[in-house]
C-alpha cells in the first residue's frame, strides 16, 4: 500500500487516505467482509478505545522496530494512532519515575480495560533476576500487570514461546507469557519479527468485536497463522514438479526453483508471509531466495535448526555427538544386520560342531 503522495515527505500525521487504506488492508488480512470496514474504522477512531501498556522484557526491540519503522510509514503511524500507548519504553517521551507513574496511573484508572502487549521472554531462573526494570523483575511486573489487563497480546517469538533465550540450554529459564499467565486471555503473534499486519489485525479485531480472534492450538490467530507457508508459496509449482535448488547459487537457485532441499521450513511453518509479505516491496524471505526458517513455530531455534537441513539432528545417547536422522537410522540398521549375521553364524557353527542339526533330531524323534 505504497502511498505515492506521502512516500517522499516525512509527514508525521497519518492522512485520511493512508488511514483508510491501512484499515482496508487489515480487513483483507483478517478476511472480514467489505461491509464490515466502516465498523472497523469506527472502532479504530472511537474515543473509548482501550489504552495499551507495552511491556519489554528479554528482547531485542526488533518487533517494535519492524512495527514502527516499516518502510511504508502508514502502518507504523496507524498503530500509534489507533492504539493509545500509555507505556512503551522505546517510544514514550517519559523516562524514569515519570514512566513508572504513567504505568501505574493506567493500571489504576483502566484496571480490567486496557490491553497489555508483551514483547520479550520472561526469565524465571534464580527468582527472575536476569531481567529487571526499575528494580523489579520481569516476573513481578507481569504478575502485577497481567491480572488487571483485559487481554494480553504476546508479540514475537520470545514473548510467545521463549524465543532464542529459551533455546537449549536456556540459561535464564526463559518462558513465554502463556506459561506464566492464567485467567487473562493471551493471544500469540509469533515471528522473528512478526508481520505488523498480523499484530494490527489482532488489535483491530479486538477493538471492533471486543474479543480476540479465533486461534489455533498454539494460541495463534487463525487469520494470520491458519495456513502453512508451503501451501501459499509462489515456488510451490517447482516443488510439485520436482525442481529444486541443490545448493545456494546453483542453476536451480538462480532459476527460482523450490528451496526445499536447502532447508526451507515452509512445509512445517504456519504464517501468512507468502500472502501478506513485508514492507512496501512485497518481499518475503522465500521470494528473495532464502528458505523459511520457521520463526513462527514454538522453539524454532531448537527444532528448525540446522536451518539448511530438512530435519533436526539426533543426539547420540550418552555422548555430546550429534548426527542426522538417516545416518543414525543406517547405523542402527547396520548394527541389527551385524547382529543377525552373528546370530546366523553361531547357528551354523553350532550345527557344524554337533554334526547334525535340530531339524534332523526333530524328524527322528
Amino acid at each position: 500500500m505504497t502511498d505515492t503522495e506521502n512516500s517522499t515527505d516525512l509527514e508525521l500525521q497519518l492522512n485520511r487516505r493512508g488511514f483508510l487504506k491501512g484499515c482496508t488492508m487489515v480487513a483483507a488480512a483478517l478476511g472480514i467482509s467489505e461491509a464490515m470496514i466502516p465498523k472497523l474504522l469506527e472502532a479504530a477512531t472511537s474515543a473509548q478505545r482501550p489504552p495499551v501498556i507495552w511491556l519489554h522484557f528479554q528482547e531485542c526491540t526488533g518487533c517494535t522496530e519492524s512495527l514502527l519503522r516499516a518502510s511504508h510509514p502508514d502502518i507504523g503511524r496507524l498503530i500509534l494512532d489507533i492504539i493509545s500507548l500509555d507505556y512503551h519504553e522505546t517510544v514514550m517521551a517519559a523516562a524514569g519515575h515519570q514512566a513508572e507513574k504513567s504505568l501505574h496511573d493506567t493500571l489504576d484508572k483502566y484496571a480490567g480495560k486496557f490491553l497489555c502487549v508483551v514483547e520479550g521472554a520472561i526469565p524465571t531462573k534464580d527468582k527472575g533476576i536476569y531481567c529487571k526494570i526499575a528494580g523489579r523483575t520481569a516476573v513481578d511486573i507481569l504478575a502485577e500487570v497481567a491480572p488487571k489487563a483485559a487481554a494480553i497480546i504476546a508479540i514475537g517469538a520470545c514473548a510467545t514461546y521463549g524465543g532464542i533465550q529459551a533455546a537449549e540450554p536456556n540459561p535464564t529459564g526463559s518462558v513465554g507469557v502463556q506459561d506464566l499467565v492464567s485467567g487473562t486471555p493471551v493471544i500469540n503473534i509469533p515471528g522473528c519479527p512478526p508481520n505488523p499486519i498480523s499484530f494490527l489485525g489482532t488489535v483491530l479485531h479486538y477493538l471492533t468485536f471486543n474479543r480476540l480472534p479465533i486461534t489455533d492450538n498454539l494460541g495463534r490467530p487463525l487469520f494470520a497463522y491458519g495456513r502453512r507457508i508451503h501451501d501459499h508459496c509462489e515456488r510451490r509449482a517447482h516443488f510439485d514438479e520436482g525442481r529444486f535448488a541443490e545448493q545456494f547459487g546453483d542453476f536451480g537457485h538462480r532459476n527460482g526453483y523450490c528451496l526445499y532441499k536447502v532447508g526451507c521450513k515452509g512445509p512445517e511453518t504456519f504464517s501468512n508471509c507468502p500472502s501478506v509479505r513485508f514492507n512496501d516491496v512485497d518481499a518475503w524471505p522465500v521470494s528473495v531466495g532464502h528458505g523459511c526458517i520457521g520463526c513462527t513455530e514454538p522453539n524454532f531455534w531448537d527444532t528448525m535448526t540446522p536451518f539448511y537441513e530438512r530435519l533436526p539432528n539426533v543426539q547420540i545417547p550418552g555422548t555430546s555427538g550429534i548426527t542426522d536422522v538417516d545416518s543414525a537410522g543406517k547405523t542402527i540398521l547396520g548394527v541389527a544386520a551385524a547382529a543377525v549375521g552373528i546370530h546366523a553364524a553361531i547357528g551354523i557353527g553350532k550345527k557344524v560342531i554337533k554334526g547334525c542339526g535340530c531339524k534332523n533330531e526333530n524328524k527322528e524323534s
Partner: protein, 216 residues
C-alpha cells in the same frame, strides 16, 4: 512322525499382513523421496510432477497402511484364538512358558521347540504388539502432517508430537523402526523355518501350519 495340517491364519489376517508389507515398502521408498528428492528435474513444462506423484502414492499407501492396522486392531479383539492379543503377550502361564522356551531357543541354549503352539511365539507376539503401537503413532503423525489444518488432527498432533517439525522428525525416525523390524522379522522367519518343520513361511500365504499328530 506324522504332521497334521491346522488352519491358523484367517484370510483377513493374511490380507492385513500383505497390505502392511506392500504399504510399508511403498511408504519407505516414497518417504525417502519426499524427504530428499533425488530426481534432478531442470526441464520445465514436462508435466511429470514427480514430487506430486510421490506424495500422492505416499498418501494412498498411508491409507492402505491405516486400513491394515485397523483390521489388525479388530483381529486383536475379535480374531481367532491365535490372532487375539491374549495369545501374543506373556499374560498366561502357557504364554510365559512359551516365552522362556523361545528365548532359550533363540539364544541357542537348547533346541527345544514348543510344538503344541500354533500361533505366534510370545516373543514375536510382544514385538508385534509394539509394532502396532508404533504404527498407530506413525498413522497419527502421518495424518497430522497430511491434514495440518484439520482441527481434530491439529489438536491431537500438537498434544502427541508438538509442532509439524516435531511430527516430521518423529515420523522419519519411526520409519527406521519399521525398516529394522522388517530385517529382523524376515531373518527370524527364515531361521524358524530352517529349525522347525511347522511351515511358518508358507503359513502367511496359505494360512496353514503343521504340528505332530499326537499333540492335542
Amino acid at each position: 512322525m506324522i504332521y497334521e495340517k491346522h488352519y491358523v491364519w484367517s484370510i483377513l489376517l493374511r490380507l492385513y499382513h500383505w497390505s502392511l508389507v506392500s504399504s510399508i515398502v511403498t511408504l519407505a521408498i516414497t518417504g525417502f523421496y519426499i524427504n530428499s528428492p533425488w530426481t534432478l528435474t531442470t526441464l520445465e513444462g514436462t508435466g511429470l510432477y514427480p514430487m506430486l506423484t510421490m506424495r500422492n502414492i505416499h498418501g494412498l499407501a498411508g491409507y492402505l497402511f491405516t486400513s491394515a492396522i485397523l483390521v489388525r486392531l479388530f483381529l486383536l479383539l475379535f480374531g481367532n484364538r491365535h490372532e487375539r492379543i491374549l495369545d501374543m503377550l506373556p499374560v498366561t502361564s502357557r504364554n510365559i512358558r512359551n516365552m522362556s522356551t523361545t528365548l532359550c531357543s533363540y539364544s541357542y541354549l537348547h533346541d527345544c521347540h514348543d510344538e503344541e503352539r500354533l500361533g505366534h511365539n510370545v516373543v514375536a507376539g510382544m514385538i508385534y504388539v509394539l509394532t502396532i503401537i508404533a504404527a498407530l503413532f506413525q498413522m497419527a503423525s502421518g495424518f497430522y502432517l497430511r491434514l495440518p489444518e484439520n482441527v481434530f488432527w491439529q489438536k491431537w498432533g500438537v498434544m502427541l508430537f508438538g509442532t509439524q517439525q516435531h511430527a516430521r522428525f518423529e515420523h522419519h525416525l519411526l520409519m527406521w523402526y519399521f525398516i529394522i523390524f522388517a530385517l529382523i522379522h524376515i531373518y527370524l522367519v527364515i531361521w524358524n523355518d530352517l529349525k522347525n518343520p511347522d511351515g511358518i513361511t508358507s503359513s502367511i500365504f496359505t494360512g496353514n501350519k503343521f504340528r505332530p499328530r499326537n499333540i492335542k
